[in-house]
């Protein structure tokens, strides 16, 4: 049976097709302002890329903040359950997941079957999320995809003390004005995200092995900062951004 997982996040919409327990195809698009359209578009994209007809799909599960606007899905399941299922698929040994997405960050602890035992989420604030990084990239006039690489070259990471995106942005601007190197500012931003997320994960109590999922996992600087703050090695899959969609497709198989 072929099943589909759709993960409509605040920045990107992801889709994954799974056939008989194997990953068949994936797709990613920008969500834009209309979550419902994003679900439809990413669905169309994955079908045409995989060369599969809509009628061949045996089940669809939607996840992500826009999960309830994906009207063609049979069921909606939260990102927490889907990321756990996806991470378990990518590496069955994983016991904890740190997911940093566009608008929230989560820590999840699971059992050996990939079932969620407990989770924690950031409060309603964009600090420590993908959106926070986007704001900083704009302030620094740096392509967000270069953030990770640049931060690794830092010689003296700057201190970003504020936990608020808006205040942190003005801190960054004053650091720029003082002539601080971009790479040091970026490293400081990653440290501040690392501290914030590690504190939340610490409250939950992470069990190794830990995997990082979500779009921000593509940023090696944040991963390194998190490793430093949690004191635990963190693995990142090539499929980090697609973990939720993969999990959703796997759950669709069981329904």
């Amino acid at each position: 049976m072929i099943t589909l997982g759709i993960d409509v996040g605040s920045i990107t919409a992801k889709a994954a097709l799974v056939k008989d327990g194997k990953l068949l195809s994936t797709a990613v698009i920008i969500t834009g302002y209309n979550a419902r359209n994003a679900g439809e578009s990413v669905f169309g994209k994955i079908l045409s890329e995989a060369g599969i007809e809509r009628s061949e799909i045996g089940g669809i599960v939607a996840t992500g903040y826009g999960r309830n606007s994906v009207t063609f899905a049979g069921k909606s399941i939260t990102e927490i359950t889907c990321h756990a299922a996806g991470a378990h698929f990518l590496n069955p040994a994983v016991r904890s997941v740190i997911d940093i997405g566009g608008q929230d960050s989560k820590a999840i602890v699971m059992d050996e079957a990939g079932k969620v035992r407990d989770f924690a989420m950031n409060d309603k604030c964009a600090a420590g999320t993908g959106r926070f990084l986007e704001v900083m990239a704009r302030a620094l006039e740096v392509d967000i995809n270069d953030f990770g690489k640049m931060s690794l070259e830092a010689d003296n990471p700057a201190r970003i003390s504020s936990l608020c995106t808006v205040f942190a942005e003005s801190e960054v601007i004053s650091l720029i004005a003082k002539g601080e190197k971009r790479k040091n500012i970026i490293a400081g931003i990653h440290e501040s995200i690392g501290s914030r997320v590690a504190a939340m994960a610490g409250r939950l109590g992470l069990t190794s092995p830990v995997m990082m999922t979500g779009g921000v996992a593509k940023n090696i600087g944040v991963v390194k900062a998190l490793e430093g703050k949690t004191g635990k090695p963190i693995e990142v899959s090539e499929m980090a951004q697609l973990t939720g969609a993969i999990g959703a497709a796997l759950i669709a198989m069981t329904l």
Partner: protein, 413 residues
């Protein structure tokens, strides 16, 4: 007339608690009496929700509760605007939203009932928090009326003789204060009667809440949030005793005929902290959609939680301990014990905690209580960040995701 109004859903009608109508009448009459006190020559005292109201009843003073008013403001979704108004007046957004809403209401007679009646005196007991001290000082200055402060020492563990004497002495001073303001003597025989009625009311309230131990629960915490108003405002009067007797009978009837608060109750949850007043309907429907019922809560049970320390035959002598050892004035370990007793009593499958931006004494220690409960009862817990009155602190999609994920964990077993 085309008669296109929809017929009520018989399923929903069946589940409605019939006593609600009477309760609304009682509360309307109570507020009418309070609002017309100036014409009838009665005195009005504003008092904190955990304050000893019984001496006021004895002295024929109408007690009025800014906190109950705060709840009404929240439920009417007027909290955000009033909080903003208080911020314009110079109060910080980090302060309690009951305090902010009340302070903002006073000069403009705002809120759902056009403001509270002008007080003749204020009675402030700090057993619930420290904010009330400054809040009541602000209002005492604004209305230029006398303020009595009853200081209840924090009771980490147990209750010392010194604390008992200290609070007992203040009870005498409290009565002296009332005698002075009213210009008449306290009738101690009546005090004994009112004390008995107060204890009786609290026992009945506990009995009402206890009916939710039945599976399925005939009432939910959302119902308790509504029916709570009487034990808070009219404690020590026969109105409370009569009403809760009736409500208890209705709950027993519901249990006998299998009427439940939530249609297909599968999951039983315990709620911690104050309600999110402007979202009770949304939350109640959200949980019900998951076949979950909030069967009990630490908040409404706080008005009968210290009954064990009160002797109805010596109310004045024992109220010091009763009023000092309430849920918000004890150590975190004892709070966790109370939570676990409730989990056992109501056979709760999970714990939902509202981390309330307004209420620091309630929210401080929640992470510890959560950890203790997870270790000792091994049930899933959920933390929701919001505020009891200020709807600007509520993020629907975030909270929805948390509740859905929590229910997925519960359902997966």
């Amino acid at each position: 007339m085309t008669g296109n109004s929809q017929a009520p859903d018989p399923e929903k009608e069946k589940r409605k608690i019939k006593s609600v109508k009477k309760m609304k009448e009682i509360m309307t009459n109570y507020y009418m009496e309070a609002k017309t006190a100036e014409q009838t020559g009665k005195k009005v005292a504003w008092i904190t929700s955990g304050g000893p109201v019984e001496p006021l009843i004895v002295m024929d003073i109408i007690p009025v509760y800014p906190e109950n008013h705060g709840a009404m403001i929240g439920a009417s979704k007027m909290g955000g605007a009033l909080c903003e108004k208080s911020e314009e007046m110079g109060y910080s957004r980090d302060l309690c939203s009951y305090a902010r809403a009340d302070i903002a209401c006073a000069p403009v007679n705002g809120g759902p009932i056009g403001g509270l009646p002008r007080p003749d005196m204020l009675v402030c007991c700090n057993n619930i928090c420290g904010t009330v001290l400054k809040w009541y000082e602000v209002q005492a200055r604004y209305f230029n009326v006398p303020l009595f402060i009853l200081d209840t020492p924090f009771s980490h563990t147990g209750f010392s003789d010194e604390a008992r004497k200290y609070v007992r002495k203040q009870v005498d001073e409290y009565i002296d204060f009332l005698e002075m303001v009213c210009g008449k003597k306290c009738d101690y025989d009546r005090m004994a009667e009112v004390g008995k009625l107060s204890v009786q009311g609290q026992r009945l309230w506990q009995a009402v809440l206890d009916t939710a131990a039945h599976k399925p629960a005939p009432m939910s915490a959302f119902d308790a949030f509504f029916h709570l108003a009487l034990i808070v405002t009219l404690r020590g009067t026969s109105v409370v005793v009569d009403y809760y007797t009736e409500l208890l009978a209705e709950m027993k009837e519901r249990t006998a005929s299998g009427i439940s608060a939530v249609p297909n109750e599968k999951y039983r949850l315990l709620w911690d902290n104050l309600p999110i007043w402007y979202r009770t309907k949304w939350l109640s429907e959200k949980f019900a959609a998951h076949d979950a019922c909030l069967v009990a809560d630490t908040y409404t049970s706080a008005w009968c939680g210290s009954l064990k320390y009160i002797n109805e035959n010596d109310f004045l002598g024992t109220m010091a301990e009763g009023y000092s050892r309430i849920y918000l004035n004890i150590g975190v370990d004892e709070m966790a014990e109370t939570v676990m007793e409730m989990i056992d009593k109501y056979d709760a499958d999970g714990l939902v905690m509202h981390s309330n931006r307004s209420c620091k004494p309630y929210s401080l220690g929640q992470y510890d209580i959560q950890r203790i409960v997870q270790e000792k009862r091994k049930i899933p817990t959920l933390m929701i960040e919001a505020d009891m009155v200020d709807e600007r602190s509520f993020a629907e999609s975030q909270i929805e995701t948390r509740i859905d994920a929590f229910m997925e964990v519960l359902k997966a077993g």
